[in-house]
Symmetry: C2
Subunit: 282 residues, 2 copies
């Protein structure tokens, strides 16, 4: 009751003020409201939300932030200390604690390079929990399980190190080369979470210059999001495509992939035409 009376007094005051000032000013002043968030006045055209919805949205934001903090704490709790920080040869010394590893991974990419032979310690339980391929390999008592050594072909020592590290920590420091290397390993050992991570990174780095190579790479390693993004970039620039060196190389090496580019382009043209047609009708 008290509140209503207050309002009518305020309105009355407003009227009084209106009578004193010019008509043009009154109209726009009556329309003005102050934004709680940016503290600037706004008129009907720029109206956002009422106070209640603003407060609700604020509460939601606070809740979401709390949830994020909780999830971050959970990630920190679940994250493993990577066994890579204490490689086997150092574990023998009494300065570093043991990591209780029961298996090693060896990159057999470049056997000429002596560093390739450095084994990376790991835990069967971790590998099995992160990759269905390692699970099948280790649980079925295959050679790798008995020997305690898993050979990873076609991977550099650095890439394998980063791969194992990701299995323990869900973290990787990516550049384009490392993202490609890790995507290949993630696809091979079916570590979906890592594959998504690499794909996102590579899509963010996509440009006209690397689009054809990215397209071929995505095809080869079954990276669908990256494939779509690269294909879309290529078909948007068809007029420049045939002059590119990578195009000629791809045509020679894998003409089927070139055919798929043309098919995607054609289907895009048909869709665009259909869209234009339907928008002209309405």
């Amino acid at each position: 009751m008290q509140r209503r009376r207050c309002t009518s007094v305020r309105r009355h005051h407003h009227h009084h003020y209106s009578a004193e000032s010019e008509m043009e000013t009154t109209d726009s002043e009556a329309e003005m409201m102050r934004c709680i968030s940016c503290q600037e006045d706004y008129d009907a055209r720029d109206a956002g939300t009422c106070k209640e919805c603003y407060e609700e949205a604020n509460e939601t934001e606070e809740e979401l932030k709390r949830e994020i903090d909780d999830l971050k704490a959970k990630v920190a709790f679940l994250r493993f200390s990577s066994p890579i920080d204490s490689p086997l040869q150092l574990q023998a010394s009494r300065f570093l604690p043991p990591c209780f590893s029961d298996v090693v991974l060896v990159a057999s990419h470049d056997s000429s390079d002596s560093s390739a032979a450095v084994p990376i310690p790991a835990h069967k339980a971790v590998l099995v929990s992160r990759s269905p391929v390692f699970r099948a390999m280790l649980e079925n008592e295959m050679e790798e399980s008995r020997s305690g050594t898993i050979k990873i072909s076609d991977a550099s020592y650095e890439a394998l190190r980063a791969f194992v590290n990701y299995l323990y920590t869900a973290e990787a420091c990516l550049d384009e080369q490392m993202a490609c290397d890790l995507l290949v390993l993630a696809e091979k050992y079916q570590v979906k979470h890592l594959k998504t991570y690499c794909e996102r990174f590579l899509v963010s780095k996509l440009n006209w210059d690397n689009s054809v190579m990215s397209y071929a790479f995505a095809q080869q390693h079954n990276a669908k999001h990256m494939l779509e993004a690269a294909l879309s970039m290529i078909t948007d620039n068809m007029d420049k495509l045939t002059k590119r060196e990578e195009y000629l190389e791809l045509k020679a090496k894998d003409p089927r992939l070139v055919v798929e580019i043309y098919e995607a382009y054609l289907s895009k043209q048909v869709n665009t035409a259909a869209h234009k047609d339907s928008s002209q009708k309405t």
Copy 2:
């Protein structure tokens, strides 16, 4: 330029409309704006935000939700399959895959109960990564590390099972008893994340009936948030305190804790008095 002209035309139209209608109506209509969120009209008193801030807040919310999805995926990736689902005696059968455990935990709470002797399989690497107490125990080649058996005193089999499960999954199904049991283990083995989780649950279940017991429990197990919450509830109801049975028990068993209740009450009274005093002066 085009936009400005539009605006002035609209304003002009508005003027025209105002002239036709009653003054009172015009004023309140001009003040009304439509909330984008709840679709209801609001006036100056209930103004929330302008459109720009609303859209910005919306974007922030979307971003936070994406971050939550990413973090949830990370948690799912980092979460371990608990070794408890495949206890040792079943692992011998060929139907369940091995979990590659290298240590067992045994609850030595009630040795008369035969189920207490059931060992719970685990991995040294996991225990070490979650608890500094297990780390010291296992890395320093103490008896537990050599024998591969860790005896956990004063814990039921169920509590230990839930404890180990939490170390692998960061999940626990709590009731008040289980939250107390897990808090005790979390404090003993310094698993902070679990302790916070149990404490939050117990604080949410705090009421006048369990406040004195909760206070004593929190004191004993160094649960500061729970202690503060319980103490605050007790000192808010001092007039009823001395009639409570738990109070008499606590006074007999641990009079120091009762003294601390009175000290907290006194300090609260002094603070309240000081607050009143300063607000009267202003």
